[in-house]
Subunit: 354 residues, 2 copies
Amino acid sequence: MTEREAAVLLVELTRGDVVESSHRGALAVVDSQGTLLAAAGDPQHVAYLRSSAKPFQALPTVDAGALDYYGLNEQALALMCASHHGTEEHVLVAQRILDAIGLDVSALRCGVHWPVDEVASRRLAAAGLEPDARHNNCSGKHAGMLTLARFWDLDDLDYTRSDHPVQTAILARLAAMADLAPGAIHVAPDGCTVPAFALPLANAALAFARLIDLAAPADCQRIVAAMQAYPHLVSGHGALDDTLMQAGAGVIVSKGGAEGYQGLGIRTPDGRSVGLALKIEDGNARAKGPVLVAVLEALRLVDAAVLARLEPLRRPAIMNHRRQVVGEMRAVPELGALAGADALHPPAAIEIAA
Amino acid sequence: MTEREAAVLLVELTRGDVVESSHRGALAVVDSQGTLLAAAGDPQHVAYLRSSAKPFQALPTVDAGALDYYGLNEQALALMCASHHGTEEHVLVAQRILDAIGLDVSALRCGVHWPVDEVASRRLAAAGLEPDARHNNCSGKHAGMLTLARFWDLDDLDYTRSDHPVQTAILARLAAMADLAPGAIHVAPDGCTVPAFALPLANAALAFARLIDLAAPADCQRIVAAMQAYPHLVSGHGALDDTLMQAGAGVIVSKGGAEGYQGLGIRTPDGRSVGLALKIEDGNARAKGPVLVAVLEALRLVDAAVLARLEPLRRPAIMNHRRQVVGEMRAVPELGALAGADALHPPAAIEIAA
């Protein structure tokens, strides 16, 4: 096995007969036993999960029993794991969490941005309104952190500090899921101010494999079920996570992050629990879909029915403003041969970075 | 001179102590005599100029005398060269061109999208309005093409076809500026349906060097002057082209294109006319500013006063939604040593691809 390039060519975009742009990156596919099944680029590449960490950030809240204590339902849990699009429905669920824990919008420390959903943004503007912290795509995660802080009866509700009990609990749990020591994970502020976590792709893939494992702890199973039941609350209607989980119909849990990160947990047709972590080097989310479909197919991680439902992600047409097709986006052929690459790069126990 | 990589690392984005994302690309710097002064990556890389071609697409309209015939002023000319942000001012100028040539918005074949300027979009929505083709960032270019079609008294106003007389005139002029045969330029539909042009970076850089040359034809000089006089009409207040041309104060002409393309013409302190063409491999516009500042400085293409005004582009802070600095974007050190690279890659007449 020769030394791997950190990032390799993954996706090309054409216009007419010329490749106009391309995306590089790295990915790792790991089963719940910690066996590296396949990789493109360096599976030890250290990357921030960004919002792909959200299912893990919700674990301590669920594990503590805070959801049931406050009478919060599975929609609320899905939103705690979400990078939501700020629609009226998302904001309503965020408000319900705040109501349940006896706080208002001023307790959210995620900052404010206009809804990701452009139609929702314009509807807000048309009503003469401005967004507040509930419209921030991370408001559910922040409400979940506040839920745990309230459940623990903490005086200190500045849950964004890395030494806050809520954050140390999250880091410890993520590290355990990823088979790392907490100190081996790089921590820096996320776009919404709470800690973001950088770890090797292979370890992140392991965490996703364990999250979806049938033998996983009850909090993992509850989070996976909530995300799969309400995928549009985890993202927005038609977004990548929504599409993947709808198509997966119970065998995929999917959570994207900023800067081209993607985590997947998959229950394979042959009964394995597998995790995938992908980082697009340049941070562009558009390249994720074609890569994921190519890898799921090449490694036979999903059956033909799931693949058929993912077909729209495989080779999206590039259209102009008059809806004419001018090119396409496609994974490079090497990804389709990823199974063959197993012979080249034989399965190996992943090196624990800790 | 060893064989060059097509694209090399240009820009890194940090978060905490980790490089989170990076951008690769290629660039060529060429003087108006056709001497390749410097390059990063492959200066012969073929890339679509996209909207960076707009100054050249306006040349036949100016050369024909159509502006004066219809009483169109320099604001109108700036908009013909623009990827504008769809503000009220931009739409007003687009409408003035249509009025002058006796057409209405239905003649524009660029398609419709919401204004690039988000505030303008929300203002439109708040007024209960929808955008039309005038809000499309390319509406000025389309109005300019219609201006020439009307001046030539053509019955056929479908100026988007590559065999339309307006388009064949544009291709011929661009090819001449770039020292290429028209047939050597790849043509495919742009996002706004008219032909987009792909050519080697070095040839595109030559075209920009010739555009800003003091001995350039009158139509070139008029276009450069109009873009420099109204840089916010060419883009939007605070956009990259606006910032570069404001900072340049008469020595820079700048036109960005989609998918990470950038063209610059520069009159250097030592009296040369120089062109620069840059393609970010992955198409992300955010990487352009740090690259351009590093190259302008390393090759001493602008004086200290211009560089000082460009300082905000050099190393932009990455901030979260609460306006806290979490990282930075910076050009790789190799770009700062680009002048030294001349010794490695001695100046050479560019190879004409035709």
